[in-house]
Symmetry: C2
Subunit: 506 residues, 2 copies
C-alpha cells in the first residue's frame, strides 16, 4: 500500500525506469519469471489480456479473408538452411532438438538418448515450414491467394531477457500469404500493417508511426519490412508489429510455383506479418504510472471491480445482494465487442484491496457501502485519474453511462500518450543538436534522453552505422506519410529528400 | 466425384477401415502429414473445428471458476525427474533440446552448437512445471483452490502415428488445480470429467461411457484416472478425455505446501485433466460414412454452404444477389452459442462442387438456381441423409426453421451413434464367448470384432494382462454408474462384484 506521499511502485519511473518496469509487472500479477532460462509464466491476469488481444485481432484478420491453421513446431535443419539470409539471421538463437528419449545413465540420472538423424529447430518463425505446405497447395493461379494465420508459441534463444519484451519463448500470431501478383502481395503487406496500427491505436490506445525499415533493420530474407513504432515513457521506441513483403525469396527457397493465367510457370509472391506478447510490454510502458499499470478499457483483462464495504456483519447480506445485482446488470452490457467483464472482490482487507486493483490497472473501481445503497448510488474511481478522485454516481446513471465512461478513459489514455509522443518528437537539422538530443542529461539515468528525432538521412548504411555506434540510436522507420523535403543528412551532410525517425529502441 | 454405385471414399469402412480413415481425412481437407516425422499440418477446415471445440470448452471451464494461463514449453530435466512414476511413463517419448544455436561446421552445413548445461524436455504434459509455479503461489489455505487451464501444444515422440489420433505434436488443453481438501479435489476431478462427457455428447454428438481406469491404465503418477470412452465404427474404443486425481504425489514432488486453517503445514491435493485434437479423430471415426466426414452442426467448421447455380451468364447477377442476401440473413442467426457460419461456393465446377462439400462434412448444402428464385425457395440437402435426398423449402421457412433443422441433424447423429454402441455392447459371462467376441470373423479384416464386452473382473492385474496378451483387449473403464452385481471374473472365475468395459482400443 502507498504510504502518504509515496507511490505504490518503487522506484518511480523517474528514479529508475527499467527497475520500475520490473516492479510494475510484478505488482500487476500479470506474469513472472520461470525457472526455465528466459521463459515467462503468464498468469491469469496477463493471459486474459492476451486473450482479448487475440480475439480482437483475429476478428480483424478474418474480416479480410484470412483463415487460421496450425503448422508443426519443428523445422528440419535442411528447410531452415534454404534461405541464406534467413538462416544467418536466426542461427544464433535457435533451440535445437537432438534426441527423442531419455535413458537411465550408468552413473544414475537421466540422459538424452535416441539421437535424431537430422536435428530439429524449434520454430523462431515459420516461413520455411509453412512455405513447404504452400508449395504443395499451389499449382495454378486459381489456388491463389492463400491467406493463412497461426497463433503459436515461438522460441528465440535470447541472451538478455525481460518479461514480455524479450523472452526465449513467447506467444504470437504469424500471418503468411502467397499471391500470383506482386502488387497484390505488396497491398496485403500494407493492409496488415494498417490493421496492426488500427489495433494499436483503437484498442491498446498506443499511438504508432507507420513506416518502412531500412535495409539493415529488415527481417532476414525480406525485400521490405514495414513496421509500427511506439514511444515508451522513457522516450525509447518499441517496434510493436511488423509486416514483411518477401518478394519471391521464400517461394524460390520453398519452391512455391504456379501456372499463371497465360500458362507460364512462376514463383508466388509471399508476405508474412506478426505481433506478439511483446505488445503487453509496450502497453505497460506506454500507459503505466507510479502506481502501476493502466489497462485500456477495450482490452482490459477485466473492466470493473466491485468492492463491497461491510463494516458490521449485520449489513453483510444487504451489501452483497446489492453488489451482485449490480454485477449482473453490468454484465448484461457489451463494450469493445464483448460483454463487460466485472469482478467482485469481497475480501476484508481494508485499503490494501483498492491498491491491489490500482496496481493491476483495472479501469474502474467501484465501492459499495451501506451509505451508497441508501442513496442508490455507487462510489467510482477511474484508474486514469489519481487514486483519491472518487465520484458518487447514481446506480442507474452509472449503468446507462458505463460505455461513455469507459470510452472517455480509452480516449484519455490515447490522447495522453499522443501528447507525450508529440512533446518528445523533435525535428533536428544539425548534427550537434542531434548528438546532444540523444545524450543523457543525467549520468545516473543513462536511459533518459530526448526522444524521437525527425532528421534527414542520405540513405547510406555507413551513416546509419556511425550513428548507431556513437549513440545506440537507430532509424526506426522511414514514415509512410513522409512529404518530400530537401535537406542534408544529419550524419554526413550529403543531400537527402526526406526525414526519417531516429530513436533509441527496445 | 462418386460414380454410380460407388461412394466418394475408397475404400469403404467395410472394405478397409484404417485406410478409409486416412482417405476420409485427406478428402475432408482438414489436415495432412507434414515433412516433420509424426507431426501434422492442421488446415483451415480442421482448425476451424478445433477453434469451435476450444471456444465451447473454454466457456464451460470458465463457468466453473477456471482461469487460463500459460507456462513454459520447456521442462528442466531435474523437474521431470521429481515424480518417479511420471518420468518412467514419459521418458521414452521425450523430445530433448540440448543446444541453443547453430554453427557452420568446417565441412560445410550447420551443426548444433552452444550445448546447454542441463537438457530441456519439451512438455509431454505440464504437471511438473506448473507444480513449480503452484508451489510459489500457495502459502496459506486462503490461496486455495487454484484453478488453472492452459491451451498449448504438446510433444510426445510416438513411434506409430496417425493424423489426429496419435501425433508427435498435438494441441490440447490441460487443466491443473490445487486444493486444501482431498474431497474437494476428488469432486473437481469428477466435475471436469462430467464437463468432458457433456461436451462430447451435446456438441460432438458422441455418446461416451464415464468411468475409472484400472491401476495399469492410470496416468503415470496419478492416484486415480477417470475417463470418457467412446465407440468408433470399427467397434474399437477411443479414450476421448481424462481427468486425474493426483492425490499429494505431485504436490510432494513439487513442494506445494500450505498452512491449514488450524495452522499445520500440509501438502495440497492436485488434479489435472485434458482433451486434445484427438477428439477430431474420434469425431471422424464415430460419424463418418463412405462419402466422408459428417460434422455435428453445433461444432462444425461451418454449418451451411450456399451453391448458386448459374447456367446462363444473364442469370448470374440475379442468382448471386439472391445468394448473398440469403447468406446475410442466415448470418444474423445464432446457433450453438455463436453466429451461423455460412459459406458461398460460386465456383462453376458442376457436380464436383457438391461432392467436395459432402466430403468436408458440412451439415447443410443449399442449391440456389433461377427456378428456386422464381419460387422464392431453396433446395436443401442434409449431410446426415443420402446425397440424393434434397428438399425444396420456402426461403422464409428455411431461415425461420434453420435451428430446428440443425438440431434435428445434431440429435440424429447422436442417436445413430448411441444405437450403434448399444447394438455392439454385449454382456458376456462366459470365457469362451468372450474370446469369440473379440476374435475377427474374417481374417482379411483383423480390425472387425464384436465391440464392447461388459464382463466381470476380479480386480487382479494378472487377469487384465492375460486378456491383453491373448486378445489385445483392455479394460477401458470401471463405469461410474455400475450397479453392484455378483458374478465371476471372465478370466479366472473368481468372485467379482461388478462388470467392467472390455474393448480393443486406439
Amino acid at each position: 500500500m502507498a504510504k502518504k506521499g509515496k507511490t505504490a511502485i518503487e522506484p518511480t519511473r523517474d528514479e529508475d525506469y527499467p527497475e520500475w518496469y520490473q516492479q510494475v509487472v510484478k505488482a500487476s500479477d500479470m506474469a513472472e519469471k520461470s525457472p526455465v532460462r528466459g521463459c515467462m509464466v503468464i498468469k491469469p491476469w496477463g493471459y486474459a489480456l492476451w486473450e482479448n488481444i487475440r480475439h480482437n485481432l483475429d476478428d480483424m484478420f478474418k474480416s479480410t479473408g484470412v483463415k487460421n491453421a496450425y503448422f508443426p513446431i519443428f523445422i528440419p535443419l535442411a528447410f531452415f538452411e534454404k534461405e541464406a539470409e534467413h538462416v544467418e539471421g536466426f542461427a544464433k538463437e535457435c533451440a535445437v532438438v537432438t534426441h527423442h528419449r531419455l535413458e537411465q545413465s550408468p552413473e544414475g540420472g537421466l540422459v538424452p538418448a535416441g539421437k535424431l538423424t537430422e536435428p530439429l529447430i524449434i520454430r523462431p518463425t515459420s516461413e520455411t515450414i509453412i512455405g513447404d505446405s504452400f508449395s504443395k497447395w499451389v499449382s495454378s493461379y486459381r489456388d491463389l491467394p492463400i491467406l493463412i494465420n497461426q497463433w503459436a508459441n515461438i522460441v528465440r534463444w535470447e541472451m538478455r531477457t525481460r518479461i514480455f519484451l524479450r523472452t526465449s519463448e513467447f506467444l504470437w500470431q504469424e500471418g503468411h500469404t502467397a499471391h500470383a501478383d506482386k502488387e497484390e502481395a505488396v497491398r496485403r503487406t500494407r493492409m496488415m500493417l494498417n490493421i496492426y496500427a488500427r489495433f494499436a491505436e483503437d484498442y491498446l490506445a498506443i499511438p504508432v508511426m507507420k513506416g518502412e525499415k531500412t535495409f539493415s533493420e529488415r527481417f532476414p530474407g525480406a525485400v521490405n519490412t514495414y513496421c509500427i513504432e511506439a514511444m515508451m515513457q522513457d522516450r525509447k521506441a518499441l517496434q510493436a508489429g511488423t509486416s514483411h513483403f518477401l518478394g519471391q525469396n521464400f517461394s524460390r527457397a520453398s519452391d512455391i510455383r504456379f501456372q499463371s493465367a497465360d500458362e507460364t510457370e512462376e514463383f508466388a509472391w509471399t508476405t508474412s506479418w506478426g505481433v506478439s506478447t511483446r505488445l503487453i510490454g509496450g502497453l505497460i510502458m506506454c500507459h503505466g504510472d507510479d502506481d502501476g499499470i493502466i489497462l485500456p478499457p477495450k482490452i482490459a483483462s477485466s473492466q470493473i471491480v466491485l468492492m463491497p464495504i461491510v463494516r458490521k456483519q449485520s449489513q453483510r447480506q444487504e451489501v452483497m445482494e446489492y453488489t451482485e445485482n449490480l454485477a449482473k446488470a453490468l454484465k448484461e452490457k457489451r463494450y469493445g465487442g464483448r460483454r463487460l467483464s466485472v469482478e467482485i472482490d469481497d475480501r476484508e482487507i481494508g485499503g490494501a484491496r483498492g491498491w491491489e486493483w490500482i496496481k493491476k490497472g483495472i479501469p474502474l473501481r467501484v465501492e459499495i457501502g451501506p451509505r451508497d445503497i441508501a442513496q442508490n448510488s455507487v462510489f467510482v474511481a477511474r484508474r486514469d485519474q489519481t487514486p483519491k478522485e472518487k465520484t458518487s454516481i447514481g446506480r442507474e446513471r452509472f449503468i446507462i453511462q458505463i460505455d461513455h465512461i469507459l470510452d472517455e478513459i480509452q480516449h484519455n489514455m490515447f490522447n495522453k500518450a499522443l501528447a507525450f509522443r508529440k512533446k518528445n518528437t523533435v525535428s533536428i537539422n544539425h548534427r550537434e543538436e542531434f548528438y546532444q538530443f540523444f545524450t543523457p542529461k543525467d549520468q545516473k539515468k543513462p536511459e533518459i534522453h530526448g526522444g524521437f528525432a525527425m532528421s534527414h538521412w542520405c540513405g547510406e548504411e555507413a551513416c546509419e552505422t556511425r550513428i548507431k555506434d556513437d549513440l545506440k540510436v537507430t532509424i526506426r522507420c522511414i514514415p509512410f506519410d513522409n512529404e518530400r523535403e530537401d535537406g542534408e543528412c544529419i550524419c554526413c551532410g550529403r543531400p537527402s529528400r526526406e526525414r526519417v525517425v531516429f530513436a533509441k529502441a527496445y
